[in-house]
Amino acid sequence: MNSRVGLLFATLLVLSFISTRFLPKAPLVLSAGVAPLWTAFYAVSSNLRGFTEALVTERNLRSENAELRTRVAVAETDNKRLSEELRKLEEVTQIRATISPGVVVVAGVVGLQFDSLNALVRINKGAKDGVQEKMVVTTPQGLVGEVMNVEQGSALVRTLLDAEFRVGVKVAKLSGTALARGVAGRFLRATNYKSTNAKVGDTVWSANVAGGAFPTIRVGRITKRIELSGDTLGLTLEIAPAVDISALEQVYLLRLP
């Protein structure tokens, strides 16, 4: 009995070693089969999360309300001036959009998938909406990641916290770039950053995403700066992402270069 168990165990283990290395990854169409179930659970749980957050914040609302009333009066006068300014800016944006149409797809986030190794996001747009692998995914707040896997009506996005994610980064106005990688769903780490002027709190921008030349996108903020004495290879920086991955609702996919 025990030898049969050993034999079967060894066979299946060898099978796994072969299949993980040499077989292609599982097709997304199979996981898309249970996606509706996940979407339902995801909707319930994110509503639950919103509900608890609302309960916590309601306590502060009363005092905040009084303070806000006075602020509204001030803001209303500013409003008039700003809306005029906005109209002008909107025109500028429109021109920029038509000259360099960066955004191809606007997609809603329908699920998150954080397991032992991966930090992935599922979106509700796929190949039939023009989504392609390696497309850069972003929000107005900052970089989200890149498209990893595409199916007809949905796609999986590898977020910037995934340990397999790589992005070139730089600090505005400083020279030099560095390669940052996700660290187990916690933060990004950039190594060998040449410019020693980088300091904690500096905003970090993308220098090169998915192997293509993209407009610079905000990646995050430096939270830790490690300088090894006598190190000629430069700084190691820890970067907190600008985007809260677990609270995403809508993302924008950029055209491939």
């Binding site: 079967l8 796994s16 993980t20 599982a26 249970v34 998938q113 954080f114 032992s116 190794l117 991966n118």
Partner: protein
């Protein structure tokens, strides 16, 4: 009667595993419900069945997660087999023994993950992954364990303990 409970069990496990990411903060690894399911299912089976069920559930996780085929399969198979050997002489209805089983299974699963990660040159398999993923995963899985096994008993009926089998 018992069948609909089993269907509900699998639907809830599948859905909860998917939804966990939305409820928990990003840096908290969700508990491994597939491993817990395999552990609970195989607690009353022979090692041959344990292997088959462990591998099958792991393969399902690989397919659903669109990952490398065989990765979770090998991990969960080795995990439940090791847990089965450790729990063989222990009572089934003791939460300490459940804990021992879960810890053994998780440790073995990650040992196989490390081997497979090295073999496939996986960048993600490094010391930080172990620290930030493995340690929280053990904690969340252990915390969820008692509730999970209670839920499993509701769906599948309470298993006979080793003491009962003596009579």
């Amino acid at each position: 009667m018992i069948l609909w409970r089993r269907i509900v069990f699998f639907l809830v496990v599948l859905g909860a595993q998917g939804a966990m990411g939305a409820v928990l903060p990003v840096f908290v690894s969700p508990p491994d419900l597939f491993l817990l399911t395999a552990l609970a299912l195989t607690s009353r089976l022979t090692p041959l069945w344990t292997l088959g069920i462990g591998y099958g559930l792991g393969l399902a996780q690989d397919i659903l997660g669109a990952g490398a085929l065989g990765f979770h399969a090998a991990g969960i198979m080795a995990g439940v087999l090791a847990a089965g050997f450790v729990r063989r002489g222990l009572s089934n209805d003791n939460s300490l023994n459940h804990t021992i089983g879960v810890v053994t299974a998780l440790l073995t699963k990650w040992l196989v993950f490390i081997a497979l990660g090295y073999w496939t040159r996986l960048d993600a398999m490094n010391l930080e992954t172990l620290l930030y993923r493995f340690v929280p995963e053990i904690i969340t899985t252990l915390l969820l364990g008692p509730f999970f096994f209670a839920f499993f008993n509701w769906a599948f009926g309470k298993s006979r303990s080793n003491e009962d089998r003596l009579f």
